[in-house]
């Protein structure tokens, strides 16, 4: 059969990709401490038990602090970079933009280790701040990619028209540019937030004694009794990520539709 092998390949690929994620909620609702088939019946006790774990609250709080700060910082940096790269011509623009985008393809472990070496070298104590720093470095390329496409779709004369009609450069930006790139900004905020919330390696290396949710989850795997609770927590995280990414994609597409552009692919 023509294309049969590709069909099998596609199915196998999807199974390997999603089967583990599907196992997560299955065991989260399974009434047993051991992660194994056959299933032992339905329960929601892991979800209730989860909230009484002592380390979870600080980890969640740390994660939210990091993710929200990262989202805001990388989006602000993304707006500035996207605006500069679409609006101005300057020497060395291509290599500079290339370097900014590099963390997108650099192995995260390399980024984490080199940052750690540098931070320890110059004597910066490891804290929430250093995690945020690492996360901003990692998520800014995503923010720039999303925001560049939002800024690129803008007709340069829109801003000039506002200026021509009496607005200052600042109010022209606020009244015309900002509303038009707002879907891109929301999308960038949500994606940076999600990436930061789920990130493990940088948080693990740069956090010192400060534990984020993924690091907390990893540490709990040492205790078999805690595993079902982790499954429940993981289920919530997956659900939250999917939700946020879907909203982000919705805004990204809406932005493209609004400026009358054509979709040239996104992250989903």
């Amino acid at each position: 059969m023509k294309g049969g092998i590709f069909r099998i390949y596609t199915i196998a690929y999807l199974v390997f990709l999603y089967a583990p994620i599907i196992l997560l909620p299955i065991f989260a609702f399974n009434n047993a401490t051991v992660i194994a088939f056959p299933l032992q019946g339905f329960t929601t006790k892991w979800f209730t038990q989860m909230w009484s774990e002592p380390g979870l609250w600080p980890a969640l709080q740390n994660s939210l602090t990091v993710a929200i700060s990262t989202a805001i910082l990388s989006t602000v940096l993304g707006v500035l970079a996207a605006r500069a790269s679409t609006r101005y011509r300057f020497p060395g623009k291509a290599p500079v933009m290339g370097l900014i985008m590099l963390p997108l393809v650099l192995p995260e472990i390399i980024v984490a280790v080199s940052l750690l070496v540098v931070l320890l070298g110059i004597g910066v104590p490891l804290s929430i701040l250093t995690i945020i720093l690492g996360h901003v470095l990692m998520t800014t390329p995503f923010a720039i990619a999303i925001l560049s496409s939002a800024f690129q779709g803008l007709d340069r004369s829109l801003e000039e028209a506002a200026y021509d009609l009496g607005e200052t450069p600042v109010s022209a930006f606020r009244l015309v540019i900002l509303p038009l790139v707002m879907p891109g900004i929301i999308s960038s905020l949500l994606i940076s937030f999600t990436l930061s919330l789920d990130e493990f390696i940088i948080a693990f290396f740069l956090g010192g004694t400060h534990v984020t949710l993924p690091v907390y989850i990893f540490s709990q795997f040492r205790f078999p009794a805690a595993v079902p609770v982790i499954m429940a927590l993981g289920t919530l995280l997956v659900a939250l990520s999917v939700l946020l990414l879907t909203i982000a994609e919705y805004y990204r597409r809406r932005g493209i539709a609004k400026s009358g552009g054509k979709d040239t692919g996104g992250f989903i």
Partner: protein
């Protein structure tokens, strides 16, 4: 209606004094000197890249100038930013704000005046009525057709009652029919509001139809600045003549010249003499006489002609219904020239290969040298 062309004595609205503009080491404007009168419909006409948009943008204030002075209503504009100038612009892309309604777009420039709601709505509706979009205020701007966007852009600029309205190729995105309709409407609008309009276009027909005066630009310089008829009848250079309409050229040699008269020997026409006002620059293309296709008359059998005649052979006939174009070779000349004839009732259309008489008048010819 106000009579069209403002008189030459009308006050000056814009004056360029030796304006230069450099983009890096590219010399985009090379010494522009011109005055534009109050209430005038003025066009900047020229091929792509000649600097029309650049010159328009120096008036709007989007582009600083490298040298020279731009005066607007007698005031030096050097230190006046775009948002403080009494000019408004209709952009080539229209630049309608897609996230606002039609009414919000049109009222955008009035925002700063903080008018009471009812007064603002009244002004917006008045502006929309002026451009034929009455009742469109609540529509979303991004859902408008090209022609409607154009009108919104006009209303948005005119609502501020600028001293000068700048239009950068406003009709180039419209189809032919819509374009012709908008040309007429723009002329009507300009007469109605009496504001100075400055139009950038690379369409010579559009410039001729709409403007009181036209500046023809090449490579950052104004080659000729005059009214449409002078531009067409008396182009001051071969370049301008080539750019506007069709001009036939036949080689000639100068026999002798004085201050007032040049005498030449021209192919097909023999000895001719030209007054000083009939002489234009040949731009190094060689001395030649020139004439428009409709200036010479193809005479039918037995038609009386009280002036000079040459004879010619019809080599090609292109029939357009209302007009016929003929490529004819005048006896004694090396190349064909294009003539046109209006197909009025009773006038025959000549066939290829026939011999015809061609009537002409020396006053209608131009000497390029």
């Amino acid at each position: 209606m106000i009579p069209k062309t403002p008189p030459a004595s009308a006050p000056t609205m814009i004056e360029f004094r030796d304006v230069h503009k450099w983009y890096g080491d590219y010399h985009a404007l090379r010494g522009i000197n011109a005055t534009i009168r109050e209430g005038e419909f003025f066009s900047l006409l020229g091929p792509s890249g000649c600097g029309k948009t650049t010159l328009l943008r120096t008036i709007a204030g989007f582009e600083g100038i490298s040298e020279g002075v731009v005066l607007l209503d007698g005031r030096d504009m050097a230190d006046v930013p775009a948002n403080k100038r009494p000019t408004n612009m209709v952009f080539q892309s229209y630049a309608i704000f897609p996230h606002l309604t039609v009414a919000e777009n049109v009222g955008f420039g009035l925002r700063r005046q903080r008018l009471p709601k009812a007064e603002l709505a009244g002004k917006v509706e008045e502006a929309l009525t002026m451009v034929g979009l009455r009742g469109f205020g609540a529509r979303a701007a991004h859902a408008l057709s090209g022609g409607q966007r154009q009108r919104v852009a006009l209303a948005r600029a005119l609502i501020l009652k600028p001293k000068v309205l700048l239009l950068d190729e406003p009709l180039s995105a419209l189809d032919k029919k819509m374009r012709e309709q908008m040309q007429v409407e723009l002329i009507r609008l300009q007469r109605q509001v009496g504001i100075t309009f400055i139009l950038v276009t690379h369409d010579q027909e559009e410039a001729l139809v709409m403007s009181d005066r036209i500046a023809v630009m090449f490579e950052g310089q104004i080659a000729q600045l005059s009214d449409a008829e002078t531009l067409y009848r008396r182009p001051n250079s071969r370049k301008v003549a080539d750019f506007i309409g069709t001009m036939n050229f036949l080689p000639a040699t100068v026999l002798n010249e004085s201050d007032a008269v040049v005498e030449v020997e021209a192919e097909g026409f023999g000895r001719l003499s030209f007054g000083a006002d009939q002489v234009a620059d040949d731009g190094d293309a060689g001395t030649a006489i020139g004439f428009r296709p409709e200036i010479l008359t193809l005479l039918y059998e037995g038609q009386a002609w009280g002036d000079r005649e040459v004879s010619a052979v019809v080599e090609e006939v292109v029939y357009y219904g209302d007009m016929t174009y003929y490529d004819v070779r005048i006896d004694g000349s090396s190349k064909t020239v294009r003539l046109s004839a209006r197909n009025v009732f009773g006038r025959p259309v000549f066939d290829r290969g026939v011999r015809v008489r061609v009537g002409w008048n020396p006053g209608a010819l131009i000497l390029f040298r």
